[in-house]
């Protein structure tokens, strides 16, 4: 069964892009295959670190866009 799990399947698995049936197969394969488990943990660790690096725009940038939208709203929407 392990042979059917490709590395790309693992990527889809950690990003939740697989069916429940496939997920269950991968769960089993990870438990049974040490090398696959190690790769899975490496990929997951890389993914977890990425969460720390997201950026956020400043509030003033959002406010400027909302002000633009309000200022350019069609007359019938502003009445």
């Amino acid at each position: 069964m392990t042979k059917t799990i490709t590395q790309d399947n693992l990527i889809r698995y950690i990003y939740n892009e697989i069916s429940l049936e496939e997920a269950s197969l991968i769960d089993e394969a990870i438990k049974a295959d040490w090398a696959l488990k190690e790769l899975y943990e490496q990929l997951l660790e890389g993914k977890t670190q990425l969460d720390k690096a997201a950026f956020s725009p400043k509030k003033i940038v959002i406010d400027t866009i909302l002000a633009y939208s309000k200022d350019t709203a069609p007359m019938e929407h502003t009445l």
């Binding site: 490496q42 670190q49 990425l50 997201a54 939208s69 709203a73």
Partner: protein, 192 residues
């Protein structure tokens, strides 16, 4: 109904009917995804803010002009606009992205906080910056897929449609990106 539970499609419709607050919900829902995608492309906070702003001005204008196709998903559509504006910028300037300050760090953001908050924020920012440096050192094609999948929350199918590579290629690039990231962390002895 909570704004979070309203679909993008419905919010777009409401906005086109004149509900301004729907735009606010849409922007707040997707701002980090769009902004992170831009930041990893241009590597300059001020330029990224300009492009982010231009992206949503274009969104507003397109929705108002009735040129938005309902079959398009909102976020991938916005990301395509942002991506095209980044490309336009580099074409106009005829230069590749350069790291300006290298950190996207705005001292005025820190000054607004108390000492404790400022310290926490600085630690958080340092951690984030180390990961960003690693991401920026990945080969361009791996970084593109990683940013679109991880930060922009696009599916591999959507990435494939947007970038013109096959789904398998996108999956492979993502796999190499994650493996390379971890390898670099081990090599550089980085514990984050």
């Amino acid at each position: 109904m909570q704004p979070q539970s309203v679909s993008d499609k419905k919010l777009v419709k409401q906005y086109m009917s004149g509900n301004e607050s729907s735009l606010q919900v849409l922007i707040n829902r997707h701002k980090d995804k769009v902004f992170t995608s831009i930041m990893f492309t241009v590597k300059d906070t001020y330029l990224a803010e300009d492009i982010f702003q231009d992206t949503f001005v274009k969104v507003v204008d397109t929705l108002r002009a009735g040129r938005y196709r309902e079959e398009d998903k909102f976020l991938p559509w916005v990301l395509r606009i942002a991506h095209n504006l980044c490309i336009d910028h580099f074409r106009r300037g005829k230069r590749m992205p350069m790291v300006t300050t290298g950190d996207g760090f705005d001292i005025f953001d820190v000054l607004k906080f108390s000492d404790t908050n400022a310290q926490e924020k600085m630690i958080h920012e340092q951690t984030a910056e180390r990961v960003r440096t690693l991401v920026n050192s990945l080969p361009e094609e791996q970084k593109q897929v990683l940013v679109l999948r991880h930060y922009s929350d696009m599916s591999f199918k959507e990435i494939s449609d947007m970038t013109g590579v096959s789904i398998n290629t996108a999956l492979g690039r993502m796999r190499y990106a994650l493996i390379n990231l971890r390898k670099m962390m081990v090599e550089k002895n980085i514990t984050i």
